[in-house]
Amino acid sequence: MTLLRGRLDGLEVTLSGRDLEQAFGELEARLASQPSFYNGASAVAGFGTTLPAAADIARLRGLLLQAGITLRALSGSSEGLSALAQAENLQFEVGAAHLSDSARSLVADFAGARGDIAARRKRGEASVRRAKLEPQARAHSELRLVEALPNTLYHSATLRGGQALHHNGNIVVVGDVNPGAELIATGEILVFGRLAGTAHAGAQGDEAARIYALELTATQLRIATFIAAEERERTAAPQPEAALARRGQIVIVPLHRLGELDDSGTTPA
């Protein structure tokens, strides 16, 4: 990711995934080469999943000020970052809605997870298994509390092929997700319609994340680093289902029978 970029509302300094010392050095050099170019601009500093120290913020501030740039806000997904911003009298930006700058850095992080996925695929560990459940169901189903993530992206339209939603949080789509469309969420994914594209839940490693759909016919399903694709044609009538990771594999369970699973979470591989 480029260190220093222009945005509609000013500059963005991308420090996520970098060694801060090195990054500051680079930034200093870069600004020194064009000392008055950015004069008067404001900047947002993105830290991704890292939580910087107050001293780092002070240093960054000073560095930017030398080039006439005011540090306006911090962005990132680490806990404590918003508190830090407040303490430093700065605004706080969450990794926001789909296709935002921070979502793009998210995608770069996914590449790492997907490297694992590719490796698993090559080892032949990727097939969908339908959970075999005993016919006698337990009377009640469990409600599982989803961890409160910053926000849920709510998209009330069908996603066409080639469209993508990438979000730091949960994604809800009211409509279909057509083949060729892509959903990537750090949280869970819920499609109130037909999911036929690709969906990746728990994209930063949350193996407990689930994918729900009224009709689950995805081209490919991914949860954390697990991947699954169903090769056979499904002949049964569509019913609402959930996909979740269990014992290193993705399984699909009819929604009304979710409560019958012996544990409410997952067992990592």
Binding site: L159, R160, G161, G162, Q163, D176, G180, A196
Partner: protein, 312 residues
């Protein structure tokens, strides 16, 4: 439909072309060009506003150009004034399908770059009254078209014609974007093939909220559908979920007439010709049930009939 006298339109001579036609019905059939251009000079901006419809698909070879030519012909046969714009710069084909390739003197870029007026560039169709072609350039590139200039041209054409049909190139690159820019309605053409459906879906997504595209399914072979060897209308529209404008069955006649430059819409007795006329009627706002071709009876077409007859 009357035969107009053969002529290449010299510069600024639209009025001349109209007076050449033999029947006085010419001026009665919709607004004539001479009237409308006079109106726009004398009375200021014309209150008449035609419809600008882009015909596109993403996938190549599904029948955009054939659909544009045939739909345009059918609309003109109903009395509307129609101009067909070929936006496939560098790979122009609309002129061939209409049999007008020898009559093209000037093309779209000549107009956009101000070398000739649009009247000078318009080619009147050989057979159908009130149907005109604005051909694409053959030896130029798509990135030489300035989008806003093309939109402006389409707007001007809308003031003079009931319908401006824009034949989009294949793909989703600049050529496609330019073709779409001037339009306010869209028709997407799809064949019953998985790859085509994927591409059309992509295009519908790219068209975005400005358009509510309507679907023409082309090259359907009912026998193959029955054998399970081809997607059905339901398979296609089950994914696309668009208002269905019409279904054209595949006929060997289509290639023949394309090679000869004779749009099938001229032959209303053929199933394809009839289908295009039905599509034209629906575009014009009529509620037309699907005609059932004599050759293909059976549950598929009856279902199709109810699909189309029940609304757009």
């Amino acid at each position: 439909m009357h035969q107009r006298q053969d002529s290449v339109i010299p510069g600024g001579a639209i009025e001349a072309a109209v007076t050449l036609s033999e029947s006085s019905e010419a001026s009665a059939a919709g607004v004539t060009l001479s009237e409308s251009s006079a109106a726009s000079e004398v009375e200021g901006p014309s209150t008449k506003s035609g419809r600008a419809i882009v015909i596109t698909s993403g996938k190549g070879g599904v029948g955009k150009t054939t659909t544009t030519a045939n739909l345009g012909t059918a609309l003109a046969c109903r009395g509307a004034s129609v101009v067909l714009v070929d936006a496939d710069i560098g790979l122009r084909n609309l002129d061939i399908v209409l049999g007008l390739e020898n009559r093209v003197k000037y093309h779209l870029l000549d107009v956009l770059e101000g070398r000739v007026t649009v009247e000078e560039a318009l080619v009147a169709d050989k057979r159908t009254e009130n149907l005109f072609l604005l051909a694409a350039a053959q030896s130029r590139e798509k990135d030489e078209v300035e989008t806003f200039k093309l939109s402006a041209l389409i707007s001007r054409l809308r003031e003079r014609f009931d319908y401006v049909l824009i034949d989009s190139p294949a793909g989703i690159e600049l050529g496609f974007k330019n073709a779409v820019a001037g339009a306010d309605e869209a028709i997407v053409v799809c064949t019953p093939e998985v790859a085509a459906v994927r591409d059309v879906d992509r295009v519908v997504g790219l068209l975005g909220n400005r358009f509510r595209p309507r679907l023409v399914i082309n090259r359907l072979r009912p026998q193959l559908v029955k054998k399970g060897k081809m997607l059905s209308v339901d398979d296609v529209n089950g994914i696309l979920r668009l208002p269905l404008l019409g279904v054209i069955a595949d006929e060997p006649e289509i290639i023949v007439t394309t090679n000869r430059g004779e749009p099938l819409a001229l032959r209303t007795v053929t199933p394809t010709g009839a289908a295009y006329h039905a599509i034209a009627a629906r575009v014009a706002g009529e509620d037309v049930p699907a005609p059932i071709p004599p050759a293909a009876k059976g549950s598929f077409f009856e279902r199709l009939g109810s699909l189309l007859g029940g609304g757009r």
